[in-house]
């Protein structure tokens, strides 16, 4: 059985992801903003005995290598090995989408044109003549689909197998006639390339000839590396000069003009579109959401609601999870270990190490889920792109590109994907600057720390505290950007803002759920593996050398003791605080895990907690019901003006919060959360920064962040009465 590789290419918002899912049956995130699919996604399926691997290329509008995504897509298509390309095209935007199609066809790759979203095109009265379109594109097979409803997928698979097994062509005879003068130069270059043993192997000759004429920088550089390449590049340059003299414009413009002209002419022959349509619903929504006066206020309101929801609605659930972990689960573990006659140290390891550690993290799962649900709604509805547009001018004041806003907002979820998302920016300068600022965006892993300290020290001002921390992060990022523009990127303004606004869509339950579940699962898996591992290692470090009574004398305590010296001016120079921060390097949520172990472990008593099965069930079931009711009540209270009877503002507090109140003074607690907000992000983020921008920037990033964190925490502590 042969195995083939097929690349999936298409514009952003053409529905590529839905086709990918339908083909491979693999759950994957379906999003709405341009440039979404940055990482390489692969899936496989077998059809009629043929095994096919599908590689999902980043969504791009062209292959002209202006953005890293275009380079990724182009290089994969050249270097492959790619047996065929599935080009997903938005049927409601045929002309624009074909620009990419033509560029892929020029590479000489077999192609299957997928007219996606044909239902929406029909609704708009758009008619496309498939036969003619196929003929004009050199005989490419055309398949109509509605990816979101899996319509046409079986036929796509059939056609794909036919093309792969040579029973049908993929339009490989296609080429655009660039006119006599251009064609003469192309032919001359093509002959030289075809005679070159290495280049002939690596690139389609005509395609490379065109690219060299266009003067595409990175390809020119690559050809130079090859022996004899220098002469070829010189020949291409001479040809370009000749053409420029004749036409008064460089060949890249001429070629693009011809290509575009070809598509425009072609579309006139195959497309019937009703004249001028009126304003769509999306246009009307944009009149308000993207308007001059309301755009920014609406954006701020949306952000405010986000934090209100995360903080208020999640606390009752948080309380419930905490009760379940410290109550029934701990008790059951005791009972089980007791029944197995386990030695006391093992019981301590399980209860103080594993359950306390993982439990502290699980407590914050509800808040994270609500955050992820909200981000998914913003993204899938299409609002995110509008927010980038509305914010562009403000961002520009601080020397940032409006699109930088998308990675930065993502940073509130998790810094790692946010750093990767900087690839949607076209300029290296914009990418680097945004990447350096992202760690100041308070990621969801930091939220548990704020919530914990908020509950312990400022239970009535939780929202305010969390708001101020997020705002502090944003302000530090803004300040950093201003400084960087002053010194690092002098005279290099951010690049111009151009972004497609996808139509508004009602987010589907399925979409929101997949998105939320994906992120939550990632978190749980991390909590379950890395954090579990760290919990266990920590427990050992805390209990070694064997037989230590006081954790302070343990290995961990000794290291932390030294680190604590540097933190003394900040008001929390204790070995416990320093130790928690040290483990926070691995992942910020671990700060709490460590605290759970150090602070609670100290008071551990090795006897079975009282309780009965009935009480356990009550804690789990009735507790959950109560949490739902409480969350609903709070949700109503968010709407300004509506206030249900507040009742006694019951103080939710976990065991850890109680202990912390004794360990920190309020000013020190505030300095501590500020430090947690700003100090070095987790190892994973650092790895992402290194991968994207290099080791030098990663090191600079660490040094800078820790200095800022120390300084700000110092100021907070001193000002607030240290």
């Amino acid at each position: 059985m042969n195995k083939y590789t097929v690349a999936l290419a298409g514009n952003p918002n053409a529905g590529k992801s839905s086709i990918f899912n339908a083909l491979t049956g693999q759950h994957q995130h379906v999003g709405n903003w341009p440039g979404k699919t940055v990482e390489k996604k692969e899936g496989t399926f077998t059809h009629r005995g043929v095994e096919i691997a599908v590689v999902d290329l980043p969504g791009t509008y062209s292959l002209s290598a202006f953005s890293p995504e275009e380079v990724i897509a182009r290089d994969f298509l050249i270097e492959g090995p790619v047996d065929a390309v599935i080009n997903v095209v938005d049927a409601t935007n045929l002309e624009r989408n074909l620009y990419l199609t033509v560029q892929i066809l020029e590479m000489g790759l077999p192609l299957i044109l997928v007219l996606n979203m044909v239902d929406m095109a029909e609704e708009k009265g758009i008619r496309i003549d498939d036969e003619r379109l196929s003929a004009l594109l050199g005989g490419v097979p055309i398949v109509r689909t509605v990816g979101s409803r899996r319509v046409g997928i079986d036929r796509l698979k059939d056609v794909l197998v036919q093309v792969l097994t040579g029973q049908a062509t993929g339009g490989s005879s296609f080429h655009i006639d660039y006119g006599r003068d251009l064609e003469r130069e192309i032919a001359a270059l093509q002959a030289r390339i075809a005679a070159h043993p290495q280049l002939r192997e690596r690139y389609p000759a005509r395609w490379l000839a065109i690219k060299l004429l266009e003067g595409e920088e990175d390809l020119v550089a690559r050809v130079r590396q090859v022996p004899g390449g220098e002469a070829l590049v010189a020949a291409a340059r001479a040809a370009a000069d000749r053409l420029t003299r004749v036409y008064g414009e460089p060949p890249d413009i001429l070629i693009a003009d011809r290509r575009y002209g070809f598509i425009h002419g072609l579309v006139r022959h195959v497309l019937h579109q009703p004249r001028r349509e009126g304003l769509t619903l999306s246009d009307r929504i944009d009149r308000i959401v993207a308007s001059r006066y309301l755009g920014i206020p609406i954006f701020l309101l949306v952000m405010y609601l986000l934090f209100e929801l995360v903080v208020n609605v999640s606390t009752p659930f948080l309380d419930w999870v905490d009760a379940v972990f410290t109550g029934p689960i701990t008790r059951w573990a005791y009972l089980l270990l007791h029944a197995l006659a386990a030695p006391p140290w093992l019981t301590s390891l399980v209860v103080d190490g594993v359950i306390a550690g993982v439990g502290s993290i699980m407590t914050f799962l509800p808040g994270l889920m609500i955050l992820y649900i909200f981000l998914a709604i913003l993204e899938d509805s299409g609002y995110m792109a509008r927010a980038a547009f509305v914010m562009d001018k403000v961002m520009r004041i601080f020397g940032l590109h409006g699109k930088a806003f998308i990675p930065m907002i993502l940073g509130f979820g998790c810094n790692v994907p946010a750093v990767y998302a900087t690839r949607t920016l076209e300029h290296a300068r914009d990418r680097l600057l945004t990447g350096l600022l992202i760690p100041f965006m308070s990621c969801s892993a930091r939220l548990p720390v704020y919530v914990l300290f908020g509950m312990a020290f400022f239970p009535h001002r939780m929202t305010l505290l969390i708001w101020s921390l997020y705002v502090t992060g944003i302000l530090v990022a803004v300040g950093t950007s201003v400084l960087a523009n002053r010194f690092l990127f002098r005279g290099m303004p951010p690049s111009l803002f151009v972004l497609e606004l996808p139509p508004y869509r009602m987010p589907t339950w399925y979409g929101i759920w997949t998105h939320t579940w994906e992120h939550t699962r990632e978190f749980v898996v991390r909590a379950g593996t890395v954090i579990l591992l760290i919990s266990v290692i920590l427990w050992f470090l805390l209990n070694l050398p064997w037989g230590v009574d006081n954790p302070r004398d343990s290995y961990f305590g000794q290291v932390s003791e030294v680190a604590a010296i540097g933190l003394r001016p900040l008001g929390f120079g204790t070995w416990q605080a320093a130790g928690s921060l040290l483990t926070g390097f691995i992942a910020k949520e671990v700060v709490i895990t460590t605290m759970g172990q150090i602070y609670l472990g100290e008071e551990a008593q090795l006897e079975v907690p009282a309780g009965s099965w009935r009480e356990d069930v009550e804690t789990i079931v009735v507790g959950f019901g109560r949490a739902v009711v409480e969350a609903a009540r709070r949700m109503v209270n968010i709407v300004p003006g509506v206030h249900l009877a507040d009742g006694a503002e019951d103080e939710m507090e976990t065991a850890l919060a109680h202990v912390l109140r004794g360990a920190f003074r309020p000013a020190a607690a505030l300095a501590f959360v500020v430090f947690v907000l700003l100090y070095v992000p987790c190892v994973a983020t650092l790895a992402a920064i290194r991968q994207e921008f290099g080791l030098r920037w990663a090191i600079l990033s660490v040094v800078y962040q820790n200095s800022v964190a120390w300084l700000l925490a110092f100021v907070v502590y001193r000002v607030l009465g240290g």
């Binding site: 624009r96 006139r268 993207a290 308007s291 001018k393 803002f497 497609e500």
Partner: protein, 88 residues
């Protein structure tokens, strides 16, 4: 002729010239080039939203200053010259 940035919302415009190679290529790949006719949905201090066919493209203020357009009168048809290379 005027920069797109100064064009009031509601107008139908024809793109006459795009300054800057990168911006030109970028817009072209998204379906906007010299001769393209679009509808200005939003035009204000924050930038411009230009609707071409079924696509909405948001163009920041700085970029919108580099796009020169001609405002079309209501009775003007699509004025783009025919491309002559396609022979069906």
């Amino acid at each position: 002729m005027m920069p797109l940035a100064l064009c009031p919302p509601g107008e139908r415009v024809e793109v006459v010239h795009i300054r800057g190679r990168r911006l030109r290529e970028r817009l072209r790949s998204m379906g906007i080039t010299e001769g393209t006719v679009g509808h200005v949905l939003q035009g204000h201090g924050l930038g411009v939203i230009l609707k071409v066919g079924n696509t909405r493209i948001a163009i920041g203020r700085g970029a919108a200053h580099k796009v020169l357009v001609r405002v079309l009168t209501p009775d003007e048809e699509n004025p783009r010259p025919l491309a002559s290379q396609v022979r069906p």
